[in-house]
């Protein structure tokens, strides 16, 4: 993915700072708790939610299992409708294609609709290097871009900022990029939205090239779908003369009818609305309406490697709703930046180590960034069993084994940092399959109980830094049972 995240510290270290930042904690808590209750209400309105979720899961699974066929069909449909399809094996190739298309249009700036795929490829930085300026037009992306910040949420990349911080960024930075913030701008959300409207309007009106992602691509019709709220998507999709959409290959669905499932589950899961304000659907180009040239860049960038993993491939069902982030107690406290990827939260913890591999410190630590509470799986509208994939990836980290990287099968070595843990796990397994040994250990613990400290030194501080240890009882249960035959002989 992007260079921005290389060299990120492991999750626990990055989370440490976030946990002790009271403003950030407050911002995240407020935002995630606001949306949680609303999502539950929006989902609760549909009596057939479970059936919709199951249908969504099955559509995505079926598509993934026949992805080659649907991609070829999509390419045919888009081409027949007047679009041009490009294939990008990795981020660099995708960025190269987009830069070339922009140059060919004779332009040096583009307006962008919020897109995870282009965040993932680091398109803005790549275009900048080519002398092309990319303007983010989604409000939250604008906040991130103006604040020279990193996104921390899939749906609301500036979720870590509160209204006061946003006002300050607008006041100081908007002038650098174009129309400055209005005089006397306050921190009311309506005024902040108005400031963004004024700032971006001049850019929309003169834009000749738009860059987008897509939420769905329909193989049978060649239709692309963008789901949004603000209208910046409509601006970017309809006003420019050239439209370039960069879309992950897993975003294809077989039929037009499949949209009836996702257009019900996505808005309710993401913004907790019955329907988001705007959804745009386009099929190739239309004479006299919208862009005259349409380019679709199909992006792999680790997706086929993910597809090769029979347990992990379910992560490709993701429709980027971010319900799992909003409900996650770890995300709420660690914040999005700790995940070191444009995909934070539970879905990021299973996507990043698959798209990028588990070689880096941050990627090897992500599968552990979860208490396995299962709240993410419960809310996922396509039923991705995130805890299952997390545990599977933990296994890949500690045991190594075969995996596919950039299309090639490789055998991963067990991670070095886990040697002591591995030895302890093996010893424990031995004891647990030899009840006599377990019993000896228990008795030893009980007999020495008065010597036990209530806090531990060294690595044990991870536990006892904040928690007292439980007192060891005078005898384990099994001794009591044996002594009293389960209390039947009256002894206590």
């Amino acid at each position: 993915m992007t260079g921005t995240y290389l060299g990120m510290p492991a999750f626990p270290k990055a989370a440490h700072d976030a946990v002790h930042d009271p403003v950030l904690r407050g911002n995240l808590r407020h935002a995630t708790h606001t949306i949680r209750a609303k999502r539950a209400r929006a989902v609760g309105e549909l009596s057939d939610w479970a059936a919709l979720r199951e249908a969504g899961r099955r559509i995505k699974d079926h598509t993934l299992r026949h992805l080659d066929r649907y991609l070829v069909q999509l390419e045919e449909s888009v081409t027949a409708a007047g679009g041009t399809v490009h294939w990008a094996a990795d981020a660099e190739e995708a960025n190269r294609i987009v830069a070339r298309l922009v140059r060919e249009s004779g332009e040096s700036e583009v307006v962008k609709v919020k897109s995870m795929a282009t965040q993932e490829t680091g398109l803005n930085e790549a275009l900048e290097a080519e002398g092309i300026r990319a303007y983010e037009t989604d409000l939250a992306e604008l906040i991130v871009q103006l604040g020279k910040d990193r996104p921390s949420h899939i749906l609301v990349p500036a979720i870590h900022r509160n209204r006061g911080e946003i006002r300050d960024i607008f006041r100081t930075e908007m002038g650098e990029w174009g129309r400055p913030a209005p005089e006397g701008l306050t921190d009311t959300p309506a005024e902040l939205a108005e400031a963004a409207r004024l700032h971006l309007r001049e850019k929309f009106l003169r834009a000749k090239v738009g860059v987008s992602g897509a939420n769905f691509m329909v193989a049978e019709t060649g239709t692309l779908v963008v789901v949004e709220s603000e209208g910046n998507g409509r601006m970017c999709l309809t006003l420019p003369e050239t439209l370039i959409s960069v879309v992950g290959i897993e975003k294809v669905v077989p039929t037009w009818r499949d949209l009836e499932v996702f257009l019900q589950t996505l808005p309710r899961s993401s913004t907790a609305e019955r329907m988001n304000p705007y959804t745009s659907m386009w099929t190739g180009t239309t004479d006299g309406d919208g862009p005259r040239a349409f380019h679709l860049v199909l992006l792999d960038n680790g997706r086929t490697d993910t597809l090769a993993d029979r347990v992990g491939r379910q992560a490709l069902r993701c429709i980027r709703c971010s319900a799992c982030l909003n409900v996650c107690p770890v995300y709420e406290r660690a914040g999005g930046h700790a995940y070191g990827s444009v995909y934070p939260g539970p879905i990021g913890a299973i996507l990043s180590p698959q798209l990028r591999g588990t070689a880096s410190e941050i990627d090897a630590s992500l599968p552990y960034a979860s208490s396995l509470c299962g709240a993410c799986y419960e809310v996922c509208p396509v039923a991705i069993d995130i805890p299952e994939v997390l545990v599977h990836l933990r296994e890949r980290v500690v045991e190594g084994g075969p995996a596919v990287r950039q299309g090639n099968t490789v055998v991963l070595q067990p991670a070095k940092g886990h040697a002591a843990e591995r030895a302890a796990m093996r010893a424990a397994r031995w004891a647990f399959t030899h009840p006599g040994a377990l019993r000896t250990g228990q008795r030893l613990a009980s007999r020495t109980r008065r010597l036990h400290p209530c806090a531990l030194p060294g690595p044990g501080r991870a536990w006892s830094g904040t928690r007292d240890l439980p007192a060891v009882p005078p005898e384990p249960f099994r001794d009591w049972w044996q002594r009293t035959r389960g209390g039947k002989d009256g002894a206590k």
Binding site: Y368, E399, W481
Partner: protein, 251 residues
């Protein structure tokens, strides 16, 4: 009915009172309960930390020890979920790895007859009033693997509501994880502690004397935190509350 108590390694070693309470409660309800001495650990910690292959012999051992019983009862939502949810998955994975059906066949018998304690009481014995007496204010934390893994639903609450003298105080944010999460508690100690502190704060806000749950590992984490923060609240496993009577009251 031949019922085996699968106490779990944590309870056996650290919380024998919970084990004694389960025996007392089930005996009072007319169940003949046995404690197979060869039992050890279900392998959950290994499995969830990524050591599935180390967990396999432990699962086979579990099946050897408990396979003959008609029902297996455990006072742990987490370990119950390990057997019910994850043993079948271990079997499937072994099959997918080309190791045949042996593991799946070995583990299959114990899966459907393993019950978490409150499930066993409500679903198998068909009781919600177990004749308990516990004159304290209690707030109940539904632990994640019981709540979402096993789908215990309102069974624990119904059991608690039928306890004489017990006043049940609603726990704000009850569905949220307490932050234990096995190795998570040490691998991500900061986040774990932050989650625990929020849970303890919510529990304290109820004014209850007792924080009750159906899993001692979560209570070990929360209890350790309450003890460190000197909250004055105490963690009590639901089995100990349900076993308590006027004649033999629990603390």
């Amino acid at each position: 009915m031949r019922v085996a108590l699968f106490l779990t390694c944590v309870n056996d070693t650290l919380y024998p009172d919970t084990g004694r309470a389960v025996v007392k409660l089930l005996t009072r309800l007319g169940v003949d309960v046995d404690f197979p001495m060869a039992q050890t650990c279900c392998g959950q910690a290994h499995y969830n930390t990524g050591y599935r292959h180390e967990a396999e012999p432990m699962a086979r051992h579990f099946s050897d020890v408990f396979g003959e019983y008609e029902a297996i009862v455990t006072p742990s939502g987490s370990c119950g979920a390990m057997v019910r949810e994850l043993y079948p998955r271990m079997g499937e994975r072994a099959r997918a790895e080309g190791r045949g059906d042996a593991l799946a066949r070995t583990l299959a018998p114990v899966v459907p007859k393993t019950y978490e304690l409150t499930e066993f009481l409500v679903d198998v014995l068909g009781v919600t009033d177990v004749g308990a007496y516990y004159p304290h204010t209690v707030t109940y934390h539904p632990t994640c693997h019981g709540l979402r893994g096993l789908g215990l639903g309102d069974r624990p609450r119904r059991l608690l509501q039928a306890v004489r003298g017990l006043e049940l105080a609603e726990l704000p944010g009850a569905d949220e994880c307490c932050g234990f999460g096995g190795m998570f508690a040490v691998k991500n100690a900061d986040v774990s502690a932050a989650m625990g502190a929020d849970k303890v704060r919510n529990a304290e806000s109820t004014g209850a004397e007792v924080l009750c749950a159906a899993d001692n590992s979560c209570l070990m984490h929360l209890g350790g935190m309450m003890s460190r923060l000197r909250t004055g609240m105490r963690p009590v496993h639901i089995a100990e509350i349900l076993a308590s009577t006027e004649e033999e009251p629990a603390r």
